[in-house]
Symmetry: C2
Subunit: 250 residues, 2 copies
């Protein structure tokens, strides 16, 4: 398996064709997996916004005040308002705002980016990243597309690449029913391959000014397995989320 960045991509602008810009710089093959950073998708889909677009309501002001108390830093209630509008559930309000986005991804600040935003204060995540992935895939020689993000996680320090949208591939592959060398059924049954592909891509993507937002994974073999598309857990099956419901920082 090979993992390489697509070189010399320009700054992406609203309305740009992501497939055209990639195809002009990479000789893709049908079974390539093309991993596109969500920032690029957001810029093309014009998900740039200003803080002034989000006049803060009482809930946002309450959250910002609570975050100020918890962190000692000044917090803009309009930013809290933007996070609320992008979210369907708040998992934690302090010492940071952990929410579920409208498409099911759990991340800090609904994944809203305040760096690398030309022409605005905020870069919101794509509205429906799997639909974005499908649109990009239509214009590419490659049959598999993943929209990636980076985020932190419980239990382990540091951020890692994750998938927030995908097309042309199931999210996970299923080893159920397969056996080990001793003939016992496997304990590990569902492998979140799109997250692993996003993590691999993130190793060569880099960050910031020198970052390369599109990475190709070549010769990844999904193999002869069942697939599934459930990547985001429901509250019902996620005991950590249930625990967070009853918890408060202060």
């Amino acid at each position: 398996m090979e993992v390489f960045a697509v070189p010399d991509l320009p700054e992406f602008r609203p309305g740009d064709s992501i497939p055209d810009l990639i195809e002009a710089r990479a000789d893709l093959r049908p079974d390539d997996v093309v991993c596109v950073a969500s920032t690029v998708v957001s810029k093309v889909e014009d998900r740039v916004a200003d803080l002034s677009d989000f006049p803060a309501g009482p809930r946002a002001r309450e959250i910002a005040a609570r975050l100020e108390r918890a962190t000692g830093d000044e917090k803009d209630p309009r930013f809290a308002q933007a996070v609320l509008e992008e979210s369907t559930d708040l998992l934690m309000e302090a010492p940071f705002l952990l929410t579920e986005t409208r498409f099911g991804h759990v991340t800090v600040n609904a994944g809203i980016d305040r760096s690398n935003v030309p022409g605005g204060d905020l870069l919101l995540l794509p509205r429906r990243p799997s639909e974005s992935a499908a649109r990009i895939e239509t214009g590419l020689t490659a049959d598999r597309v993943i929209v990636t993000d980076t985020c932190g996680r419980p239990f382990r320090h540091g951020q890692r690449g994750v998938a927030i949208g995908w097309a042309g591939t199931p999210a996970a592959r299923d080893w159920r029913g397969e056996t080990d060398r001793e003939g016992r059924e496997l304990g590990v049954t569902v492998q979140a391959v799109v997250d692993e592909l996003a993590a691999a891509a993130n190793l060569v993507a880099g960050e910031g000014a020198g970052g390369t937002p599109v990475v190709v994974v070549r010769d990844f073999d999904f193999g002869d397995h069942d697939g599934s598309d459930a990547l985001f857990r429901d509250v019902e099956g996620d005991f950590v989320r249930q625990a967070l419901r009853g918890w408060s920082y202060e």
Copy 2:
């Protein structure tokens, strides 16, 4: 970056030299990252055990009974005893046993494997995986070694590869102080590269009888960054763990 499995490895046995078995089958280079599945390390370090090695104490019987009530499945209190002896903290007792291992990794059942165990009932994780990684590295042409595991996570379905031990590389690379194209400081600062390398390796490793437990990542460039080795969070900085402390399944 290239990711490939080391072919034709035999079943590993206690006392085998992992470096020798790898070097005989792969033409390694100094800057390769060699990812070794923890199962292999455990077999070589003779971490195979029998349930009868763990006579259940009162706490283990209590936990097993609680798991039986929660799941409706029969649970062996000796298995709960084995998990307790491998753990320093219990994060969840039901509906499954989530613990912190003695070396800081949070995982279900302290990572004890009940499949793929020749000559025993249980395969325990290596005692100190980073020391194992350092020992393996000493015998290899490659300068970087990661001991990998697979485990699930909150918020997202499915398992993915993670690092549980590493040598010759920091666990994470630090982007602090670097700026984006607009000159703003980067939001994402610490990238858990060893986890991303383990995830990439897991894409080609596979599971079960056809699985390949050693994978090489070639031409991964860590770059000119500070590194850090803190991969496992302390309870103090992990709000999800704090929330789990006050939570109970029943």
